[in-house]
Subunit: 274 residues, 2 copies
């Protein structure tokens, strides 16, 4: 086997680690791949850890113990998160995106990979420490962001549906009061989660909190703990939501007028010092 | 500024390139970040190109011209794609996942980031050359794979809905015949796509092809060309689908019996030599 240079090894390892966040790679798997000694690989990993920290590119961690190895987490610094969200607020504010009825059009933002990945990484960075087992969202618009969050945390995504489907097997259905005041159904396959797991709820929009509360109740049916809740956008009114303790990335107010104007701001916790 | 070593520079560049597939980074942006000369950066990029090719980690490309620079594509080799899909087929085959009515439970597979990303990269690798402007999917189950495909191609995802929503603005609605023979509605916001764009349709399941045909018709309403169609799973029967030219990753047959058994196989095109 031709000798692989350190710069090649390190770039290859960086690529593999960052493509599978939170997955633990053993040093031996890298040793085998590159035909290097364990001490050499340890040095490579140390250098990568410093590099990531220096350039604010996330965290390379060594995990000790029998199942030990190296893993990568896309930890977004508060500064970088703030910059990303401020940019987004500028894009969403103004009158261009306001629809009849005072709704804001941002479906495009919710499915543009580059933006979605960054939002997912910001949410994941906030909830790494509560160690969720999966991310829960309610169809449809929040799915990409929820998926990006799950990806950044290296955990599965679970999608609640409006009705149970034959291809999901037996399901638990609950009723909840939606934003518009109507009674709706939320359904989740029995196979989707296990008792005593921890859920991180991620969704695109928080107004009254009816859907979010529905998800909390759904998790209770499964004996699952809700470890956290995050939303892309929360409306300024009503101030009191049916859930609490959530983190949103942005807040939305729509000012009446001709034309009506959307005021989108970074959430307070993002602007506070870490 | 402290001098940054080649191994650090290369790993950092690799991380940034691979986190934003198909985005063009200018050499000057890297020069600025690392305080290096353009010739040095060119050498770094050359080494990364060789490394990626050597370890089958995708493609690093130099784009010439005024808007030129460097970009990364997660091109999956036929061999690696085959291995991934064969693994998946083993996981899905057998009787454990067969539901009453002969349906296969694989919602978990469709939202586990690691698997979804690999499926997305395989699909993206097949359709890079047709240069789609966006990925189109129909809610709900195919959204994560469609998003991962869009991510790997560096293009937006567009999600068609079952009904038009107030927060999507004015929409085009069409009727289509679903798999079960009922007439359903498919809706897409007018703002979501532009005339003369090219769509790559990605969805989780292909049986009769009713929904897929609906998406093709929806694109016709927008004067959008369908550049390709890919599905995670296609049923063996009916053999004749309402669409043609599609690529699926796997085929599904369910054998009657006690218990019934799912036979999941890699699609033929995957098993053929590239």
């Amino acid at each position: 086997m031709e000798k692989v240079r350190r710069n090649e090894r390190m770039s290859a390892i960086m690529k593999m680690l960052s493509s599978a966040p939170n997955r633990i790679f053993t040093l031996s798997s890298f040793c085998e791949m590159f035909g290097s000694a364990k001490s050499t690989m340890s040095e490579d990993v140390d250098l990568l850890r410093e590099m990531c920290s220096h350039f604010d590119l996330g965290v390379v961690e060594t995990v000790t113990g029998a199942a030990g190895g190296v893993r990568y987490r896309p930890a977004v610094s508060r500064n970088k998160a703030r910059e990303t969200i401020q940019d987004l607020c500028r894009k969403l504010s103004g009158s261009e995106r306001v629809l009849p009825g005072g709704f804001l059009y941002y479906s495009d933002i919710l499915s543009t990979p580059d933006i979605v990945n960054r939002m997912g990484e910001i949410i994941a960075s906030e909830y790494t420490e509560v160690e969720p087992d999966f991310v829960l969202t309610m169809e449809t618009k929040g799915i990409p962001v929820a998926f990006a969050t799950a990806n950044a945390l290296g955990i599965p995504l679970v999608i609640a549906r409006h009705s149970s489907k034959v291809y999901e097997g037996s399901a638990v259905n609950i009723s909840y009061v939606s934003g518009s005041g109507s009674i709706e159904t939320m359904s989740l396959s029995r196979r989707a989660v296990k008792e005593n797991q921890r859920a991180l709820i991620v969704d695109d929009f928080l107004k009254g909190g009816g859907t979010a509360k529905g998800m909390v109740e759904l998790m209770r049916e499964f004996n699952v703990t809700v470890a956290g809740m995050a939303f892309v956008m929360a409306t300024v009114t009503p101030e009191k939501k049916r859930v609490s303790g959530e983190k949103s990335l942005m807040t939305l107010a729509v000012r009446d007028g001709e034309p009506a104007e959307a005021v989108v701001r970074p959430a307070e916790w993002l602007m506070a010092d870490n």
